[in-house]
Symmetry: C2
Subunit: 474 residues, 2 copies
Amino acid sequence: MKNKAITSRDIDFAKWYTDIVTAAHLASYSNVKGCIILEPNGYAIWERMQQELDRMFKETGHQNVAMPMLIPENLMKKEGELINGFAPEVAWVTMGGSKQLEERMCIRPTSETLFSDYYSTVVKSYRDLPLKYNQWCSVMRWEKETRPFLRSREFWWQEGHTVHSSQEEAEKETKGMLNIYRKFFEEYLAIPVVTGKKTESEKFAGADYTLTIEALMYNGVSLQSGTSHYFGQRFSKAYDIKFLNKNNELEYAYQTSWGVSSRMIGALIMVHSDDNGLVLPPKIAPKQVVIIPIGNDEKVMENTNRIYNELRESGISVYIDDSEKSPGFKFAEAEVNGIPVRIEIGTRDLENNKISIVRRDTREKMLEPTDVNIVNYVKGLMKDIQNDLYTKAIERRNNQTYECHKLEEVEEIMKNRPGFVKAMWCGDHECELSMKEIQGTKSRCILENAEHIDDKCIVCGKNAKHLVLWGIQY
Amino acid sequence: MKNKAITSRDIDFAKWYTDIVTAAHLASYSNVKGCIILEPNGYAIWERMQQELDRMFKETGHQNVAMPMLIPENLMKKEGELINGFAPEVAWVTMGGSKQLEERMCIRPTSETLFSDYYSTVVKSYRDLPLKYNQWCSVMRWEKETRPFLRSREFWWQEGHTVHSSQEEAEKETKGMLNIYRKFFEEYLAIPVVTGKKTESEKFAGADYTLTIEALMYNGVSLQSGTSHYFGQRFSKAYDIKFLNKNNELEYAYQTSWGVSSRMIGALIMVHSDDNGLVLPPKIAPKQVVIIPIGNDEKVMENTNRIYNELRESGISVYIDDSEKSPGFKFAEAEVNGIPVRIEIGTRDLENNKISIVRRDTREKMLEPTDVNIVNYVKGLMKDIQNDLYTKAIERRNNQTYECHKLEEVEEIMKNRPGFVKAMWCGDHECELSMKEIQGTKSRCILENAEHIDDKCIVCGKNAKHLVLWGIQY
């Protein structure tokens, strides 16, 4: 039985995606153009993401702060590349109350400028360094199109901004944070990612270089899922962040920034979910288990409460759906919402001393004895689901990754069965532009330390410098 | 020995306050006029507040969501009183990128309009109700003056917005949330509060009525610390939120909203802290215990690590200060930062099998045997500190609360030793305005169900209706 509120993903992927967003009550369009509302189910996933990432950040010595949401135009302009990159897409505040402002301010599209300005006032000596700060907030970019979680004017994210006394330490931070993102995607979201370096034309405005994690969605479209930037001394020179080094000389500081956003919820949908609704990896699901009592005789309620208490006490996030809806409705709702494990407790099963356990990912139903060690069973099952989702995602990603040696191959792939394409590149921007003509194919990242698959650039045939991952992007 | 970076609070309270904010690294002024930066120590306190309140909200059936940060002017204008109340103090976005917007939007000063607009699209039947949503965010009000935590253009808060199928249920929610705030202040912040209802002129723009918790600061100035509003059907009528009730009739819904903000950090400072810096109640302190090893011989480090591990494993938030600073410097720093318990482990004490334990609130130093059950000891000590801070705050508040029967008494008090004044009021706004002429004395709240202390209004002498709490406010 298919959920009627959801278009099949093989028929219309874009429609399927927005159907899931709506049916699972993740987000809603608002009457504020280009902005979405995170509804309880969507926000709860964002909270779980925040919890795990925040723990990982703190374990690696980062501290949270909060910067203003507005940036005066002058402050924004100090670093040339940044303002050029972001000026066309910021929202400008020009009035406070009924008064015209002397200087307009933009709502932060990102906060390098604010952090750098702050660091310039507090950094004096190498003893003050490193400062490793992060903030959780929303930012605003004046996009034209809206696609919930993937692209909207306002989105929620974290932005880490660090300042160091040496290039080596800052570069280590840049790599270290990318590694945390990779780990989070693999271990919590069960999404495999490719890591690499952005090309010059795809890097963050103002960065020396940008590292990225790239994931592949069910439909073969790639999603830039997290980035970590090394700034060198660009911002420290523009914002005058100097410290007295160990030789008692003034030196410009070395900086990084890194971020992931509510876009990750979009990735969860497009990698794991199916025509019956959301599928969530147990390690990130806000609610891991639902118990649905069928009928309300004493034995049903007794077993329901016993199992609920045992699971809850073991730290599993569990709830009972004892609303007045029909069992069938409750099953479908739990499926749409992506609850990883469903336990059905009914009179008939109980007569045979059985309960039913259904896993959301495969929809497989198991009949188990009522005296099964439920905590061990559910923990084992959740581990299996988590692993299976990851394995399935890797297999699909690998099946959709192609090595190409000729442009015609790329064209054939991107037109008929898009995915990741690995191909050699000479390093010229012209060749990137030529690739873009093929269905908008863009470089996702340079695969560093990867074995070259050819000597020549796939576009111009000149000597190749890098093995590059290419894809059609969201 | 007094901390030299901090002005004495009895000499210059305002200067003392900002000295604490700076010396304890709670917040910093930014180059964005009217906006502050929450530094790591300040943000960590805010995170602790969020954790406890968020738990209390969720335990009472509330869910978190995120609404857009912008409000189109038309949406803002639908409820007349609200726009009149907030229009003079909002920031207007008039441009997106390089284009003038067709309709300007304000940065949310509060989000009743956005929640109501959303509720109008999702509420259909009494079966959908109640919806009890909350969001954690920052809001913007174009204030002229800045006082860190107490008043700034941008501040951080939570705003709960709920919608119900009956007046009774909505009023119960309004009272219930006020009660959660009261409990949080008393049990976590160790700050006693007076609860009551705002007068017509002091209530929230657009509310039927506003309930409030009011706290008294060390200098006798009162601080509105949290409010809970009952809206009746005002917003549901303006935003068209109708539901089919049990009689199958369309009915306008009943709404509430309630909020507390980063202002609470200001209250913590002004109620508990002293000339040596911040004093934090252990139940809200991000770091509860610091261990300072003096010297680094084997026995010192052995005991330091043992005690650290024991405390940490018991769930106490503890850290070791093994930086290169001098012990005296570390002691002062722990004091300024308000770490509730300091454990000093030094060679000389250890020769007598002793360690030193210092409580921040009284600065009392205890010598204890090295084999003291450190977990029980510290837990007991933290409980004592928490209780003592609360008792001391209540005593001071009571000593600064006066019953007045004549205006001259109010004048004498507010001029020389301000505090809370209890006095009778006839209910006329004119009399409130007269009180304001006395040092800006304002009604804090109507003390409902309180025994009247007089028959006549303290201002006009006409028949009194209410016992009112008055004060000078932040």
